[in-house]
């Protein structure tokens, strides 16, 4: 079981690295796009669109920083604070492995949500940012549920 969990964690770690690398690429290209927009609007004297482009540039930076600083902190805090060692016997080991894999899945899911949020910001749709924040909440809620479900399942199966 540990071996299977380790393979899954390795795949998720690779996925995390790929998404983080793509976030840099998309953020920089989105900023370049906004700069192009800004220069055209500045040439035409459209001050409202210039302000909009500057706002989008700042938002892009905030979303990228959220992905880089907030997501790892949220995952580490959730993993450390949620009790995953509850139960006993094989159920405890299984629960611990499942919790680690769920934490990894949550991290990748949050990174993916931030990636989508970058695209939404670039195109001017604000819904992507709320989706990213909702994903973070859902991931933490899922980990809390797991921490409750494992001891209950262990007691129900008579492992303890």
């Amino acid at each position: 079981m540990m071996h299977a969990a380790q393979i899954l964690l390795d795949i998720l770690r690779n996925a995390w690295m790929a998404i983080i690398a793509l976030i840099v690429v998309v953020a920089v290209l989105a900023m370049l796009y906004q700069m192009l927009k800004l220069s055209v609007d500045a040439s035409l004297g459209a001050s409202m669109y210039v302000a909009q482009a500057v706002g989008t540039l700042i938002t892009l930076m905030i979303v990228a920083l959220y992905a880089y600083l907030a997501i790892p902190a949220i995952v580490r805090a959730a993993t450390a604070s949620v009790s995953i060692g509850a139960g006993c016997g094989p159920a405890a080991e299984l629960g611990q492995d499942a919790a680690y894999v769920i934490a990894a899945l949550a991290a990748v899911q949050m990174a993916k949500a931030a990636f989508i949020a970058l695209f939404s910001t670039m195109t001017g749709a604000g819904s992507g940012i709320s989706y990213a924040i909702t994903e973070a909440g859902a991931a933490i809620f899922g980990m809390l549920l797991i921490s409750v479900a494992v001891p209950v399942a262990a007691a129900f199966l008579g492992a303890c």
Partner: protein
């Protein structure tokens, strides 16, 4: 798609260099502006082939965008120069000062793209977080 971007970039390169607006070393330095910094992104493992396909595409898109910005900024600068000259010849002080301010703003935008964006990109690349699990 990759070929499309590449052809577009090459066409713009050709136009800019033939018209003498920019030189090869300058364009090369600008196009490679985001690629000369330390990257902290680790090995993508099984996803590395995907990244290997996407990175040249993104690099071409960056070069295409930078070349397009040069064209836009040049045309914008020409427009402001015309506006300023027209204002100066008819004694329109407001028009002339507006044109000068517009030109300065355009130069600032171009400088931001050439200096600020590569630095921001480097900052993001060097501070890429390791997997928190």
């Amino acid at each position: 798609m990759n070929k499309l971007y590449f052809n577009g970039s090459m066409a713009l390169y050709g136009f800019l260099i033939r018209s003498g607006w920019i030189s090869y070393p300058l364009l090369r330095a600008m196009a490679n502006g985001a690629g000369g910094c330390e990257s902290n992104t680790g090995d993508a493992g099984i996803f590395a082939p995907v990244l290997d396909k996407l990175m040249p595409l993104a690099r071409n898109a960056w070069a295409f965008g930078v070349a397009l910005l040069i064209v836009i900024a040049s045309l914008g600068g020409l427009y402001f120069a015309l506006k300023g000259a027209a204002g100066a010849s008819v004694g329109g002080a407001g028009m002339t000062s507006g044109a000068i301010i517009g030109m300065v703003a355009l130069i600032l935008v171009v400088l931001m793209v050439f200096l600020l964006l590569p630095q921001l990109s480097c900052m993001l690349q060097s501070s890429a977080p390791a997997a928190p699990f």
